[in-house]
Point group: C2
Chain length 278, copies 2
């Protein structure tokens, strides 16, 4: 069976940067290292870091004195950043610069009197962080959800960096019709867009698609959604162990796409297993 | 045959205001009165004004000294307003305040560095006027036309006051996805929206619709479009003389909607003729 890997599959620039940071800190800190939440949404990558002695904590309150705190790719809520500083921890800020951008926009636009709308998942770490920077009314609209009635004349719209473009488009348009002024700042990261475009293209060219990445990874789940809409034979797996030969019966070519938090070695493992299938 | 007239059929507040202004000036000016372009897009109403001696000119260059110049509901291009002042004419500004708003926005947003997009018809007097207030790049996008590729990061979107909401929604959404920042100011006048909502509702309740108003009136044509999408038996007429009995064969109830520039007496004429049809 032929295997075709999407050009943009695997670690994005921001994830690679944070993973390098945490590995470097683990090797050189000479003291305990914790990450505030799982560093990226990939259980296999997190397991590798644990092997290096890096622990994951859920809140600054759990951290002991003398520890180095790494903020994960998705960022953290403002009060946790402040608590880490107040308690004097060494903080390595692994927040992706593309996530810093919506955080800064939430703050700036709310200071300018806009009701801030975030298109994304209110339960996602990145969005929780972004919300915490808004200094006025802030509403999260889930892609696909009805557009809410907001009482404000001025509404600003930003997006989770991994949002699907069409969802942002729909929600901005609908709000623009209902409010006197809508200011949309497209905070979808260009890596996400390219990766989605590549996945879309790949899905058109193959007989089945395997999307590799954490089941808890928003951007990986979006890739699977996008591919499935084009090629119904789309499977979302975390590792090669989940692959079932019967999924690929009669397939000449299988495409692989992978989330921004999926390590290359996990993608390669999936590719090797697929190549061995008749 | 039953006739049902939409609640919002006929002169809007802005048109009534301008027509009152020009009638008042014609009665009391004591000198020649001209309107810069047809005062409203309704041949019947314009004819009534001509009976009072009000002439229509196409440009300030045509106006003789000692004349009072009335600016029409749709406004005028900035250079013509300036020329009228420079030549010392008494100017009665009949520009609808709802049209002043996109004019002011085109100026303000272009000064703030936005590429200004106007959703509307580039050949319409209102849009020509609005364009003239932009002090930087300005692009008109016709509803239904493909969204253009613009080189700028910051794009502001405004609309012709009589734009159909769904067209504004679509174009704002598409631009928001392509540009770093899109600032949409909804300049569709609320009268237009209400009138369109009423027409939509009416079209659902009747066996045929007559939309009354100037064939050159953008807002009247939009009403006809909206009604026709719901009730294919929709007719756009300027006066009752165009009505054909065969259009209404088998109809129990006929609905009437009318543009913002259609005088009440023209609507009433259509209603009376319809009531007489078997």
């Amino acid at each position: 069976m032929d295997v075709k890997i999407a050009r943009t599959a695997g670690f994005c620039w921001g994830v690679r940067r944070t993973v390098d940071q945490v590995m470097d800190v683990a090797d050189h800190a000479g003291r305990p290292v914790v990450t505030l939440g799982p560093i990226i949404h990939n259980p296999q990558a997190v397991a590798r870091m644990q092997e290096k002695g890096v622990r994951t904590v859920n809140a600054i309150a759990e951290v002991e004195a003398g520890t180095t705190v790494v903020v994960r790719t998705h960022g953290a809520v403002k009060s946790e950043m402040e608590a880490a500083k107040a308690r004097g921890f060494e903080v390595v800020d692994g927040t992706c610069p593309y996530v810093k951008y919506p955080q800064a926009m939430a703050q700036r636009l709310s200071r300018q009197g806009y009701h801030v709308v975030i298109v994304g998942d209110a339960n996602h770490a990145e969005v929780k962080g972004v919300i915490s920077y808004a200094e006025g009314p802030c509403t999260v609209v889930r892609p696909g959800a009805p557009v809410p009635d907001l009482p404000d004349k001025k509404v600003a719209v930003i997006a989770q960096t991994t949002c699907i473009g069409a969802d942002f488009e729909r929600i901005v348009g609908a709000l623009a019709l209902r409010h006197k002024e809508v200011r949309a700042v497209n905070t979808i990261c260009s890596d996400t867009e390219e990766r989605q475009d590549d996945a879309r293209q790949l899905a058109r060219e193959v007989d089945a698609v395997v999307v590799v990445g954490g089941k808890n990874s928003a951007n990986t789940r979006h890739l699977a959604e996008i591919c499935r809409a084009i090629q119904p034979r789309t499977w979302h797996v975390e590792t090669e162990e989940e692959l079932r030969p019967e999924w690929f019966r009669g397939c000449g070519t299988v495409g692989i796409s992978a989330g921004a938090s999926t390590p290359d070695w996990v993608v390669e493992g999936v590719a090797q297993r697929l190549r061995k299938l008749a």
